[in-house]
Subunit: 271 residues, 4 copies
């Protein structure tokens, strides 16, 4: 009896959750919460700040209700938190609910409110798919990234060994050197860095030019790798889809037909 | 009777409008008007300025006559303004005709004269097609652009929350932060921005590096998406064109032929 | 009789010219002349300068002899100067021979000696082919380049209209504005340019952001256009080469065979 | 008898060498040695420095043992050093073993310890393959690189001829000019360089713009060349793999079958 009732409720919540209007309303609230975050960065009169605080609580409340509806509407409640996005949404709401007072925690509270904007990704399926495809592309890059890191590490070790006395702020230790090399890779005032070390080691231009050459080359290879991978995948998907969609016979079908024809002729011959 | 006359006139105007010489003349006038705009940015003697003002009116007059001819020559006058380019051309001429005196309006008048150069696009079909294909590629980018904006917005909110006291000119509010982040994305003196915040928050390099990583990755994905799309489209167009042009039989045709052959043999057998 | 002798000489010169060793010797001389040019940019003792001047004349002499041999060895002397590279080589030698004294001409003499390095391209066939393929790709870009120029021109006109009073060095006239916009397109200290105009027109960021967006978009389109074109071309060349090389029968061949089979069966039936 | 024993030992060493655990241990030691290098760039207390020195020797010892095992386990000892990576590994260990005292040699010792990180590439097969494919792509670029160098050389010669008096630090000789041009190519404060020379030669902007245009164009061509090459290669590999994997009959197979069918019919007719 109880089960039937809960199943009935579950269906009702599922209907609300699948409702297009409900989804649009939630997207609207997320956009509104993003605007509130934006407005808060301006210096505001006190009354408006109070209004915003109230709005903030209302947004949290709406998000809480939405999560509860989604949870109630889920046919398999145990699996609800297996989905990373559901976990993310719940975490954001729960942390928003915690009353925060001291300054350190207040910052975390602010950050959580900013991360609400990410709920945009969790609620729009197209963005979720886009992010998934982005994340899927990452492991392909694994070895190139490792190679790039090895190049960075070796150059940073050389840099902090030779140049740390010239400019400790740029080459003081290996962490600073890595940051400086990243700067050189983005071409950001890299000649200033170079001219400084060239005044002590006149041949240090070779260090920078070779570094730029290696990283540019590895980077280029990474991009080409991705492009080729994506194009190949598209080709395969397309080829399969085409074969299925058009119902075009394959060469194998033709061959089978020819064989049956042969048998027919042979059969016609014998008697 | 009247209709016949107007139809006769319409045909005459249509002939003028389709005339290659007429088109070249209008292109020439557009180039000349562009040159006049360029010359006006230099400090000129008074007499030359007067000459230019007269030329300006002549150009407006020629454009007015051209629009009238194009309108008269159009077989379906009601649809004339359905074409965005016709509307644009007419607007440019109409606003040029309005006598302007006070300084605010004078600026608009100047701007309109500059936008005349865009008539180049409206009159050369190849440029019009190029612009159309550019505009057509935009919606494909919709979701990646939205994703990119979400990334920008979150980082801008974080930036203006934490760094607004360090440098209000760069991080004062969310709009300034967005501009600063765009600057960081173009690698324009981004290390100056970073070193400034690193003096207060030593770990803030992670903010910049992760931002550069995310935007570069999303941007890369956008480019690859376009490349793949364009290549796929070209492939399909090409495949269709090839199939039609060569009259190459498909596998389906071969299969049909085999079936007819089978029937023939079966028919030959029975009697 | 005379003709026979000249033909005999022509063949001999042709042999020299086609000789691999002769070609390598000329390439060696070109590299040597490039080194001489490089050495001259350092401050040198007088004796070395005199040695270099003598070497210079020797290089010119060798180049003169080489051109004469190539001209003599050419079977169709009238067409010799129809080839752009032959003309270029001859011009370089002739101008090098002119004795130069006053300072203006001396500069031209120096320039001509520098352009000798370009003879590297004229003598190595692979480089000549590379340059040709580069030049062939240019007209494809024609309309995108025109579009890009229209965008540049409109923004430059707007820029010099509004910002010329703020910084005449950057926005004084349309030529300076075009240069400044090129600088903005390369992201070179573009925020300095922007912050300056934003102090007068706070909304002028839209001018820069939209300009960067449009040019980046047009540029991206240009690159994609080239990539797609090159890939398509390669495909066509490859497809043709494959079809020829493997002798693989086409579907049309199969169809023809089937038809002949049908006729055979029909023929077998009737009698 | 002796041979049998050595063969037995060889097999044992080969087993150790092929052991996954042994490989992981060596990778662990390499990562540890990289961390030690990183730690050394910070200013450390004396006791820790002594610990690091001991660790350093232990790492060298482990590497020495590893090389010996790999050498012993190799079935063909003569060919061991034909492999570039084995040579590299041995060199790194041997130089690490040399006791170094005076400052010049100490630097080399440090460098060798840094290059140990590169052993990561020699031990992980995927990285080795990646590097090989990178190196294989280089010769394809040969002629474009030569072309790029010729462009650089000509512009550097022109630059140091005309601008050396304006700023000897940037344009003093051809080597400095090459470095300055590389800087211009990376868009690093290139307008500062340009404005300086434009104050003497107002038309020198053409020098920079044309240089940027040529190098960007050559660079673009290089990238496109690589992309097209990689895609073509992938296509060929894929096409072959597909043909083999699916066992799909080719058109040639179909043709052969048709011929046999014809013969069958002809045979059936005659009697």
């Amino acid at each position: 009896m109880e089960k039937a009732i809960s199943a009935c409720w579950q269906r009702k919540f599922y209907q609300i959750r699948s409702n297009k209007g409900f989804e649009l309303f939630v997207i609207g609230v997320i956009i509104f919460s993003a605007l509130v975050i934006g407005v808060k960065t301006y210096s505001l009169p006190k009354t408006l700040l109070q209004v915003i605080t109230i709005m903030d609580w209302m947004i949290t409340l709406i998000f809480l209700i939405e999560i509860v509806i989604r949870f109630m509407g889920d046919p398999e409640k145990k699996r609800f938190f297996h989905n990373g996005w559901n976990l993310f949404d719940t975490l954001i709401v729960v942390v928003s609910l915690v009353p925060i007072e001291n300054s350190d925690m207040a910052l975390i509270g602010r950050l959580v409110r900013i991360f609400r904007v990410l709920r945009m990704v969790s609620i729009i399926p197209e963005l979720r798919m886009l992010l998934n495809s982005l994340l899927k592309a990452l492991p392909q890059l694994g070895y190139v990234m490792l190679m790039l890191f090895i190049i960075f590490y070796i150059y940073a070790a050389i840099g902090s060994t030779f140049f740390s006395r010239i400019n400790p702020e740029l080459w003081g230790d290996i962490a600073l050197s890595l940051l400086t090399l990243f700067r050189v890779m983005t071409f950001e005032d890299w000649t200033d860095v170079m001219y400084e070390t060239m005044s002590v080691y006149p041949l240090s231009w070779a260090f920078y030019i070779s570094f730029i050459f290696f990283t540019a080359f590895a980077f280029l290879n990474m991009i080409i790798g991705i492009v080729v991978n994506v194009i190949e995948e598209e080709h395969q998907i397309e080829a399969k889809a085409e074969a299925k969609a058009t119902g075009e016979p394959t060469l194998r079908d033709i061959q089978a037909e020819l064989l049956s024809l042969k048998q027919l002729i042979k059969g016609a011959d014998r008697p």
